[in-house]
């Protein structure tokens, strides 16, 4: 695709800044999100995730910087952006007294839907969020957290938004409900762009195309999981479950890859098997050779062998650690 034909990004943020009193909530962040992308916003508490999401939803203004959402310049037409987006606030506040269907109809009216379109969209979102039949007639106050979350997402999808902003959509949900939420996003993948913030890293890892890691109001890392793994984790981890002598296994592995180090080994239940964890800084994948060598060894029995990819948690901790330490030392200097 040529540069001229390239579709405009759904979100374009340039040097966005926001202060609450003397605290810098955002320290000039810049990023963009393309059409149909699912992007996860990660960061420790107070990193500026919710502030960014609120600015992008047109709820609060930025102090400086540029932000365009669905082609709307937030500095000029802050309110306009609400016509194009769906927003799920943190903790998903909902009125307790209304029935699900009453609430969705009220929200649809506020979002400018009328008549047959209102009925059609309400039906569609109820179906997407699996809220049809009896649930839609129940009072919101009587719903479980999972269903309440689905009501919030159904509301965010009502006006066929081009962008859906979800602030902690799976917080407090059980794994089954989280999976349903993920499934809903999967279903709309490609049609709608999603920007979601979360503390549950496995969720983000499972459903996001890209991640943006924020710390102290700054973007400390950005990219796909693979990109982040490449950047932040310089070691490959092998996990071997075997029955045999520890020294023998270590020797065999090191014959293939001399940089491979045994990190630790633990017994697996009472079977006599042990779990050996090796780490290597060697970028060439020698896993196949290692397996072959171990299988050929008569005094060893191999039960499991796997390459453990560093998870998002490891990447998250490494990405935020540096920024965290820098900020801590800055605070210390200010105090002294």
């Amino acid at each position: 695709m040529s540069a001229e034909n390239k579709p405009l990004p759904i979100i374009e943020v340039l040097n966005l800044k926001k202060k609450y009193g003397s605290i810098n909530a955002l320290n000039g962040i810049s990023f963009s999100i393309g059409k149909g992308e699912i992007v996860g916003f990660l960061g420790p508490n107070g990193a500026g995730k919710s502030t960014t999401l609120k600015i992008l939803s047109g709820l609060i203004p930025a102090d400086s910087g540029e932000a365009k959402v669905c082609g709307v310049d937030l500095a000029e037409e802050e309110g306009q952006v609400r016509n194009h987006i769906g927003y799920l606030a943190e903790n998903n506040p909902l009125p307790e007294d209304l029935r699900v269907i009453e609430y969705l109809k009220f929200r649809a009216l506020l979002k400018g839907l009328e008549g047959s379109r209102l009925r059609e969209r309400t039906k569609v979102v109820l179906e997407i969020c699996d809220l049809e039949r009896k649930i839609s007639e129940r009072k919101i106050g009587n719903l479980s957290k999972g269903f309440r979350q689905r009501v919030g997402i159904a509301d965010a999808l009502l006006n066929e938004p081009r962008l859906v902003i979800l602030d902690e959509p799976t917080i407090g949900l059980d794994p089954q409900q989280s999976a349903i939420t993920r499934k809903m996003m999967e279903r709309l993948r490609g049609e709608v762009s999603f920007l979601l913030s979360s503390h549950i890293l496995s969720e983000v890892e499972a459903c996001c195309d890209r991640m943006i890691i924020l710390s102290h109001g700054q973007i400390v890392a950005e990219g796909s999981l693979y990109n982040l793994q490449e950047r932040f984790v310089d070691k490959t981890i092998f996990e071997i479950v075997a029955l045999g002598d520890k020294i023998n296994i270590q020797k065999k592995v090191r014959q293939i890859d001399s940089s491979c180090e045994l990190l630790h080994d633990d017994p697996v239940e009472t079977s006599g098997k042990r779990r050996f964890i090796f780490a290597t800084s060697n970028r060439d994948n020698k896993a196949e050779d290692i397996v072959k060598s171990l299988v050929e060894e008569p005094n060893l029995r191999i039960y499991e062998f796997q390459i453990t990819r560093p998870d998002l948690e490891t990447i998250f901790l490494r990405a935020t650690k540096e920024n965290w330490e820098r900020s801590e030392s800055k605070n210390r200097n200010m105090l002294t």
């Binding site: 939803s57 047109g58 709820l59 609060i60 203004p61 309110g79 306009q80 609400r82 016509n83 927003y87 606030a89 903790n91 506040p93 909902l94 009125p95 307790e96 007294d97 009220f106 929200r107 009216l109 506020l110 979002k111 400018g112 509301d155």
Partner: protein
């Protein structure tokens, strides 16, 4: 404008499904009915110079600090407590439209209570036409003047209640604040009722007292409204208070989300 109607409808719906509002309305109207009944029975023995219908207006006015908080206290404080205000303003609706919509709903509910209260003399004049005529219940200007008077004060009182509700997340605090402001306002009006004083135009304190007197003498003006004379200064005064409180509430809502 469409969104204003949506908010208005939703708020009215919320008021009608709230049991607290029904309880407050029931007790208020019951006490008002009892008071009105005893007043009408003993009317000939009193020094009351206004038409008997005005007694109902005075009852509504002095009872407002007890009634208005029940109508207005949940409008913003409950939304703030639940966090639904943020969800509400994430839709394409302006903050001022939300404030005006909520205020209108409370005001309409107040007018409904006034209408029900005015039902007492109306029923009385239908059941006992001769006595009704003697009490002046057949004179249209008396009805219009009294209704306009209480409607104006209702508008400003509900706007004060809405403003108090926007200040806190706690319904009870909002209610108590509304009660306090309205009680103070009515106490000042009651204190200044019927007072005439001479003043020195060079004395700053006298001038200050005069200006306060002229803005807080709403009860004095009831004498005119009660017989169907409309005092424009009072209308403007109440209108100004209403607009002022609505603007303050909008500023407060904007401030919360900055």
């Amino acid at each position: 404008m469409r969104q204003f109607w949506i908010i208005l409808r939703y708020e009215l719906f919320s008021l009608f499904i709230s049991s607290g509002t029904y309880v407050a309305t029931f007790y208020f109207l019951s006490l008002l009915a009892i008071g009105f009944r005893f007043f009408i029975e003993s009317f000939v023995y009193t020094d009351w110079i206004l038409p008997p219908l005005s007694s109902l207006v005075v009852g509504l006015l002095f009872g407002s600090p007890a009634l208005i908080p029940f109508i207005t206290m949940r409008s913003f404080s409950e939304e703030r407590r639940l966090g639904t205000l943020e969800t509400l303003i994430s839709t394409p609706i302006s903050n001022s439209m939300v404030v005006v919509g909520k205020w209108c709903a409370c005001y309409l509910f107040f007018l409904l209570i006034v209408l029900l209260a005015f039902g007492y003399p109306f029923i009385l004049s239908i059941l006992f036409p001769v006595q009704g005529q003697n009490l002046g219940f057949n004179e249209r200007e008396i009805w219009i003047g009294n209704a306009l008077f209480i409607s104006m004060f209702g508008a400003s009182f509900t706007s004060i209640g809405i403003f108090a509700s926007s200040l806190t997340k706690n319904q009870m605090v909002a209610g108590m604040l509304t009660f306090t402001i309205l009680t103070l306002y009515i106490s000042c009006m009651a204190y200044l009722f019927g007072r005439n004083f001479s003043y020195d135009k060079n004395d700053f304190l006298d001038i200050l007292y005069l200006s306060i007197n002229s803005t807080m003498n709403g009860l004095n003006k009831l004498e005119q409204f009660a017989v169907g004379l409309i005092d424009i200064s009072t209308v403007l005064h109440q209108f100004t208070i209403t607009i002022f409180c609505i603007v303050l509430t909008t500023i407060q809502i904007n401030r919360i989300h900055r």
